[in-house]
Every structure is written in C-alpha cells, then in structure tokens.
Amino acid sequence: MLAKKRVVTAMSGGVDSSVAAALLLEQGFEVVGVTLQLQACHESVEGGSCCGTDSIAQAGAAAGRLGIHHYVLDCRQPFQEAVLLRSWEEYSRGRTPNPCVICNERIKFGLLLDYAGFLGADKLATGHYARVGVRKNGDAFLMRGADARKDQSYFLFSICPDRLSAAMFPVGALTKDTVRSIARRMGLPNADRQESQDACFVSKGTAYPEGLRLRFNEAARPGPFLDEQGRPLGTHSGIHQFTVGQRRGLGIALGSPAWVKSIDAESGSVFLTTRKEGLIARGLIASGVRWHALTPRFKRLRCSVQVRYNQMPIPATVEPTGPATARVRFDRPLRAVTPGQAVVFFAGDRVLGGGWIDSSEQ
C-alpha cells in the first residue's frame, strides 16, 4: 500500500479549519494539524481569541475528535516582527494596515508552509473561503470562495503563485451553512462556535493601534485637527488612532457629524470633513502590486476591484505605472478609500492581482 500523502492543516480552533481537516481526512490524506501560537497567553482576549490557549485547546479538541496528530507552533516572535511591527509602522505613517493579509502571506503561507515542508508535507491547508485554480502554463491562481458572503480571497491576494500552488482550501467550495452541518455531522466540538476571524488583532481593553504603540513603546504623534480648507479645529493625541472614513471616537465635537478625510503623517495633521461626499474618491494609486492570473503586458485592464473586505466589487480600469505600481480609476465613486488597505483586482471569481493603497484620487 502506498503511503498516504501528508497535508499540514492550520487549525485555529474554529469550525472552518476543523472541517477543512475533516474533509481532507475523508479524502484519504494523512492530516497533521498545527495551531499557531501568535501571542503570549496573557495577551489573548478571553473566549474569542484565535491566538490564545483557549483556541489552542479548541483546535486540540477538534484534532482529538478526528484522531489526527496536532502540534502547537510558537510563532510569537515572527508574528511580532512581521505582522505587529509592520502594522505599527503603517499606523505611525498615518495609514491603516491590514494585518490579516500580512499574516496570511508572511506567517501562514510563509513560515507555516516552510514548516509543513520540514514535516514532510508538500501541501498546506487552511480554513479560508477561497479556491485555487491552475492556468494552462501550470501556474496556480486564486479564486473567490463559493460562498459569496464568506469569500476571503481579498485577504489572500498577496500570496505568490508558487506558494499558492501548495495551498489547499477544502471549505472554499462550500457555504458556511454546509461547513457547520458537516461539523455537526462529524461531531466536531466547535460546530457552533463563533467566528474567530480578526480576533488576533484585538487586545484587552485597548484599541488595536494604541495597543501596538504601547507594545513597541513608541511615542504618539499628536497634532491638529484641520478642516478641508486647512483651518485648525482642535488637537488630537496621536495620528495612529485615526482611519480614513472614521466617524466615531474622534475626540472632538463640531456640532455636526464629521469624518476623517485624510491624514498627513509628516505634519501630524488629521483632516476632517463634515460632508459625506467629502470622502468620495474616483481612483487610487497602489504600490506593491502583484499580478497572478495574467502577465501584465497590457496598458489598461478592465476588471472589478475591492478596496476593503466587505465591499461590493465595482468595475474599474487598472493602469500599470511601473513593475509593481498601478493607477486605478473606478467607474463609480467609492467612499473612504484608505491608504494601507489592500486593493484587489477580480475578473468574476478570479483574483487577477492586487496591491497596497498609497493614496486616493479625485
């Protein structure tokens, strides 16, 4: 009898990755479950964290139900350097980072995929709602998950094709409801557990950016609130606390609703607008652009774009301006295009590429 093919499955303790492991097992793979420890026990949020000992125990219980090996990989140091420090650097530059994208690229499909290789597995499975396709030339490309409401391809855009070819997303072709019913049928202990997504980036009692500032013992960068014409409205205690489009918790009362329009890190200024349409952008400039399912030998590309996770994709024209930069023009205006977030290009379900938003354009 041939030895079974070994697949490492990243198990967060949530229902999606547990079902991913279960499905692979049913398909005849030898599944090894690995849970990443991303933060120290005392830092994790009670109950909900995907990083804490609670989730490690949940993952262990699911692995136990499936009868597979399960190990905990201590990634606290690399997570701190690759994800948390990078996130802080973004905040300190007046941008709003997307730590999940960075974590998927650097930790899950970086470190953990390497680790899987050292465990004799050539594939790494996760519980993401996304799918992998193969081009005629053999390159792997990313596709949206079949459940449109759960699709997580946005968070995976930056994984390069050779790493993607080692990825398996067993729940990507399913709906969340199906995943939950599989979990119940298989008697998985976490079948009805709440979502764990994003829980890595919550800290006890403190806002995430302020938590990062305290962690790295950095000074806050206070400065003025300015209106759209540059007139002072008041002062704030640090630019890292603000995100373009933010309305709540500004710490200033103008008598009418106000939103963060932009942040100028150099002067420490936070520009506010009291007009909803003041947030509207008709395009953006992106850097760190990666193309997946096609070779960028075009001048202009018609596709649909997403500038944040939970946004309906809109038609747009993408114009490469250099090897890894692009200008994007939306067919319809979009609100709150936020520097630091990812812009991802789609053709239907196919992920064509993506990049990091540097600035919005009118």
């Binding site: 090996h69 201590d74 465990l119 004799g120």
Partner: protein, 390 residues
C-alpha cells in the same frame, strides 16, 4: 517486561522514550489497584469493615513507599503528586518556620513546582537564593555553603534533574546545612524508583516523591517528613494523614503507588544496568552516526535512563514532532513547559548557547525499551537530522 508493544494508527510500531514525563502503568500495579476501585471502596476513615479494608490497603502501601526510600511508614504523607509535595514542603515550612524576610536557598534548575513556589514566596516577602550550576548541571558545595546566611530557614535542592538527569551532591549539601541547623528538602521525583535512595543516609528532612515516574498511577505522590520535623501543612481540613494532608485519600492510586514502589525496589539493581546500557547504546549510536551532537549533563553523576542531546543546526521541537510522526516519542525538555519555545532554563543555567538549547532532545528510557527499539531510533534520527539540515 510485561509491556505489550504499542501499535499506533497506520499500524506503525510506537516507541516510547519519554519516561521522565510519565511512564506506562505496570500491569501488576493495575492488578493491585483494581480491587480498590471495584470492591474496597470504603473511606479509610470509616469505622466499618469497608473502611478497614481501604485503610489496610493504604497501610501496606505506606510501608512499601517507606521501604523504597529507607524511611519508616509514619514519615510518609500521601499527596496528589510531586508538585503538591513540593508545594507542601516549601509553602508549609515557610508558614511554620519562616518570618518576613526569611530566606530559602534553592538552585536555578529546579522543577517549576519548586521554582514557582519560591517565586510565590518572594511575593509574600520571603527571599530566595537561586544557586548557579556548572556546565554539567551541578551545584558547587563551596558556593552552597557560602549562601547559608543566618536568615536561611530552608534549602531545597533536587536529587536528579528532570531534563538532563544530573544528580546533585545532596548528601554533602545536607551535611553542610545540618551543621547550621537548617531544614533540607529534596525533590526526588525523578530519582525515586530509578536509583537507590536512603532518606536517613541522605539526611534530608523532607523529600518529594511521585508514583507515575516509575510505572505507578498519576495523581499520587508523597512527601517524606523526617520524624521529629513538625509537619508542614498545605491542605487543611480533616484529620487525614495525621493532620498533615486533609482530604479523603485516593486509595486505589495510593495502593498502586505502593505496588510501584515495591516493584521498583525489587528491580532497581538489574533494571538500572539494563536501562543504563540501553541509554549508552543510544548515545553512542547517535554520536557515531550523527555529526554535531553534544551530550548535555554530567556523565558520571546522572540518572541511568536519561540522555539530553543537542543537535547542532536543528530545531529540537521540529525534530521531536518529526520523530512523533514516525511513532517515536521524545521531548525537548520538561513536559510541564513544552508549550513554549523559550530555550530550556535548565540548559541556559548550564551555560548552553541559545542554539544548543533550542536544538536539544531529551530521551528518557524505561525497562520496557528494547535494543531493537534503540537501534531503530538511532537510524530514524540519523535520517531525520540529515534531512532537516540540508
């Protein structure tokens, strides 16, 4: 011995080399326990026959535990295990003898049960001296003698280290402490049942024991309290264990612990030489076939079943997981702290570099292991280390 070969999933033979974490329950121990789980369920404190049966089982167990360490039965206090015994010794003595500012002397490489009890006492206003160890994990008797200031009320030095197996010069240290009238506790959890121990010859006042390290059941241990020493108390309640440890006794486990002590005492001499030669075969095999390996610990004064080795340029945890996937169970250090990636504090205290400490594996054998198993481990390890290094 009487161990059946364990067959794991995928029909592969499994090899267990993690006996410092815990051991297989001996079938003779299980047999001894079963009647106390099924039939003799009385409370040992009860006046009726049910209670008397249970009490008699415990009495016999107490004699057997005492015999293993050359003590008398009334010097044995049953506890829930080694950790509780350590806590009882340290916290209990601090409570009865200590004053604010009193000092405890221990070593940097104790088990966490001792170290964290010490840290707790520091928070309560006690002072603690953590003695350094040399490159082989031994304390220096001269440094120890110098550490015994007037404020010292208790010394706690382990007999054998759980990670590297190094034996401490406990008898010598006891003599020094006695000359100053200072109480002496030793954590003998890893040593008991593996090397001959005579409590009176050692001269210690308190000694922690645990049954599951030598084929007894988990959840049962003992604190030896030398007669004449006012018993430290941790768990308050009824009159059990002559008011030294309250709570209805875990009778079946205590009976099993007693049987494990009896069997260990009978087998000590022979088993030791067999286990020791298997351990040496393992070490020699690895040293011959794998480059860049260093043995950690004290070659002359070491538990016969333990080998701790550093594999240059290889992550110990990764190696341990790969071995596990091939059915071979070893550990990277103490099972009580295997959830962290921090280099072992024991190896760090011994002056190992971070690389050396993070590339280490602990092999701990028992009488169940065979020559074939050892040879197979050497072969698998050679293959794995070569694969992971390239």
């Amino acid at each position: 011995m009487n161990g059946e070969q364990t067959v794991g999933e995928r029909g592969m033979k499994r090899i267990y080399l993690d006996n410092n974490a815990t051991t297989r329950l001996d079938s003779e121990v299980l047999e001894e326990m079963l009647p106390y789980l099924r039939d003799h369920y009385g409370n040992p404190s009860s006046i009726h026959w049910f209670g008397q049966e249970a009490r008699r089982g415990m009495d016999r167990a107490r004699e057997r535990v005492a015999n293993l360490i050359g003590a008398s039965p009334d010097e044995i206090v049953f506890t829930s295990g080694g950790t509780e015994a350590d806590n009882q010794a340290l916290l209990g003595i601090a409570d009865t003898v200590g004053k604010p500012g009193s000092r405890i002397v221990t070593t940097a490489i104790e088990h966490q049960a001792v170290l964290n009890s010490c840290r707790y006492l520091e928070k309560k206003g006690f002072q603690v001296t953590y003695l350094p160890v040399d490159g082989q994990g031994r304390i220096d008797p001269g440094t120890f003698a110098d550490s015994l200031a007037d404020d010292v009320i208790l010394v706690s030095i382990m007999l054998a280290n759980n990670e590297v197996g190094t034996l401490q010069p406990v008898r010598e240290a006891v003599a020094i402490a006695k000359s100053r009238g200072i109480l002496f506790h030793t954590d003998a959890v890893q040593a008991a049942g593996r090397i001959p121990i005579d409590a009176h010859w050692l001269g210690v006042d308190l000694m922690s024991l645990s049954g599951h390290k030598f084929h007894g059941p988990k959840g049962c241990g003992a604190l030896y309290v030398r007669s004449g020493v006012t018993g430290p108390v941790l768990v308050h309640g009824g009159h059990h264990e002559r008011r030294r440890r309250a709570g209805t006794e875990n009778v079946a486990a205590i009976v099993g612990f007693g049987q494990a002590c009896r069997l260990a005492g009978m087998r000590l001499g022979e088993a030791n030489s067999v286990i020791g030669s298997l351990r040496d075969r393992l070490e020699q095999g690895i040293l011959e076939r794998v480059k860049g390996v260093k043995v950690n610990g004290c070659p002359e004064n070491r538990l016969p079943n333990t080998s701790n080795m550093s594999f240059e340029g290889v992550d110990g945890q990764l190696l341990a997981i790969n071995l596990d996937l091939k059915g071979i169970a070893v550990s990277t250090g103490s099972a009580c702290q295997s959830d962290t990636r921090e280099p072992s504090y024991v190896l760090s205290a011994m002056g190992c570099s971070t690389d050396q400490a993070s590339g280490c594996l602990r092999f701990s054998l028992s009488g169940d292991n065979t020559v074939e198993e050892i040879d197979s481990v050497v072969e698998v390890l050679q293959e794995l280390v070569e694969g992971l290094r390239c």
